[in-house]
Symmetry: C2
Subunit: 193 residues, 2 copies
């Protein structure tokens, strides 16, 4: 398949900001169980093979997993400090749990687990996120199997339908909207910042 | 009035990250007119005098102004790269427009305008945000009066009711939830990251 037209400026931004450890950190907005917006930092884990779907990982015990079950839509806001570029990407969210019936997503979840660092995998063995603080020993569990994901490990996918790209450095700034039209074709338009 | 208990770690984070130009940039999530989450970078403009309300500025012509009218609630996600701390702050949003009937908010809006840089003020004289790209000349308007805000300039206030503070550097990480209880008292609790 051909890549979406916003992939090229995004790749360039990732490349030009690669010296910053937080260039792969972005903020994901979802809708909470109370109908109010929720927002937190997540780490970009690359694109799902042969697709424009962005990969993240999360814990099925976290609040956002329940939010996504109820309202599978999100918008990420990704700001690149060095080049002063912002990508707002909205689309459908898919949570790939241990019981995923789709063999290719099941496999992708396993690969995402294997690609984590030991420290990142270890966090999935920590006590329930958001529960009252557990004793220190609870945070020293035996290291989980690097080959087989823990049951509450989830791969999270964002399938973009709209991208709003803003370059703050231009004078005036440049802004481009990309929209996925009904026939799965991306249409882009320069708009006022 | 006494400051909320999360003000002290937030001040510390702002101080320790002050060398980064983007330490005052954060992401504001709201709910779009289609009921889907929206998310964008905004600039922290300090606290409203004698209060815990965070100040931002925005353009009444932007999408988020309409979103806030319909659903005056938001969550900001504020990540500090140098100290690896995250503050998630949710609360009620108030848009202070030119016709605000509250004299103190009317005054606060005027001060916020006066405190902007010339370049930031100029942007409010640009053509309609999000409309098809205008000609270059439209971005060279006469400089607006630095004393009197343009009509579509808005002060935006966030009145926090819940703060989720995460320190990624701890081993294990530290996380503290602050909640405003019914009697306007802040209650805090250490929780699992």
């Amino acid at each position: 398949m051909s890549l979406a037209p916003w992939r090229s400026p995004l790749s360039r931004a990732l490349h030009r900001n690669r010296s910053l450890p937080n260039a792969r950190y972005l903020q994901l907005a979802t809708i909470g169980s109370d109908g109010k917006p929720a927002n937190r930092t997540v780490v970009f884990r690359g694109f799902l093979e042969d697709s424009d779907r962005l990969k993240f990982v999360t814990d099925a015990r976290s609040e956002k997993a329940g939010q996504i079950d109820r309202h599978p839509w999100g918008e990420i806001c990704w700001y690149f400090p060095k080049t002063r570029e912002q990508f707002r990407i909205s689309g459908r969210l898919t949570l790939v749990r241990a019981d995923s019936a789709d063999p290719s997503l099941h496999k992708a979840r396993q690969i995402a687990w294997q690609e984590l660092s030991d420290a990142a995998r270890q966090q999935f063995a920590w006590p329930h996120p958001g529960a009252p603080r557990a004793d220190a020993e609870a945070f020293q569990p035996p290291p989980p199997d690097p080959a087989e994901p823990l049951s509450h490990f989830c791969l999270l996918l964002l399938e973009p339908e709209r991208v709003d790209f803003l370059e703050l450095r231009g004078d005036p700034q440049n802004r481009c909207l990309y929209r996925l039209e009904g026939d799965r074709v991306w249409v882009s338009q320069g708009v006022n910042p």
